[in-house]
């Protein structure tokens, strides 16, 4: 398999990882701004 087609799989994993890390962080920060954290 050539390196350009391997790049698709590597890119997909990094996009998914960024989506989980930054997406979940953004979701938690949004929820926190909506309802607040522990006093």
């Amino acid at each position: 398999m050539n390196s350009s087609s391997l790049g698709i799989y590597v890119t997909a994993v990094y996009v998914a990882t960024y989506a989980v890390l930054f997406g979940y962080a953004a979701y938690l920060l949004w929820r926190h701004s909506e309802v607040g954290g522990e006093d």
């Binding site: 390196s3 799989y9 590597v10 994993v13 998914a16 989980v20 920060l29 607040g36 954290g37």
Partner: protein, 230 residues
């Protein structure tokens, strides 16, 4: 400081954890893309720099969920149940990411996205177990009974972790053995690859700790509001 200001701002420890996670992750990503290609896997090795960290955090999160479950059963404090559920939620998220990363690695390596070999089968069981854990939580209305049942499930679920980790040794199949062999204390990777993997692993662990802290605080606030409404 007024009440609204106090509650809408993230506490300093959570902010520090999130910032540190971002900085370490940026360094980890730089190292991952700077590391040389693997002799056999070529640049596909880059998948493993985040895949191993995600798998480790899934294990860690399920283990922490079990510890809080035990503490709940011991102390009967609902805060432990909330933290157990928060850790299990984050663990499930990282378990799904682990499965996705594994599938993206498997397709060019084995020719298929999925095969029912021991590591993948036990990973699917582990994921299904924690999906079941949340179905159980949603199915029970009584908070005390829900917390006890969930605690029992969280304790049972951890049994799957050593089986999943050891599956590559117990039933030799097509999946490669552990990247970090904790049994024989060795790794098959070159030095700069090990550093890239460990920095990414640390970064993802820091993200987990920040997520758990923020999610725990949110759950505490939601519980306090529910109590106030009643």
């Amino acid at each position: 400081m007024n009440h609204a200001e106090k509650t809408s701002r993230l506490d300093s420890a959570s902010r520090a954890l999130l910032t540190l996670a971002l900085v370490v992750f940026a360094a980890g990503q730089y190292l991952a893309f700077k590391a040389p290609p693997d002799v056999q896997q070529g640049y596909l090795i880059r998948i493993l720099y985040v895949h191993v960290g995600a798998a480790w955090v899934a294990y860690l999160a399920f283990f922490v969920a079990m510890v809080y479950a035990v503490l709940y059963l011991w102390k009967q404090d609902a805060a432990y149940d909330r933290l157990s559920a928060a850790s299990a939620e984050i663990g499930l998220l990282f378990m799904l990411l682990t499965l996705f990363g594994g599938m993206m690695w498997a397709r060019p390596t084995w020719g298929v996205f999925w095969t029912w070999e021991p590591r993948l089968t036990t990973s699917a069981i582990l994921t299904a177990f924690y999906v079941g854990y949340f179905l159980l939580r949603h199915a029970i209305e009584d908070p005390e009974f829900r917390a006890k049942a969930a605690a029992a499930a969280a304790i049972l679920g951890v049994v799957n972790i050593p089986i999943n980790y050891m599956s590559v040794y117990w039933w030799r199949s097509i999946h490669q053995t552990a990247t970090f062999d904790v049994i024989n204390r060795k790794t098959h990777m070159e030095g700069s690859m090990v550093v890239a993997m460990l920095v990414n692993l640390l970064a993802i662990t820091l993200f987990y700790l920040a997520f758990l802290r923020i999610k725990g605080a949110l759950a505490a606030r939601a519980a306090a509001r529910e109590e106030w409404d009643e």
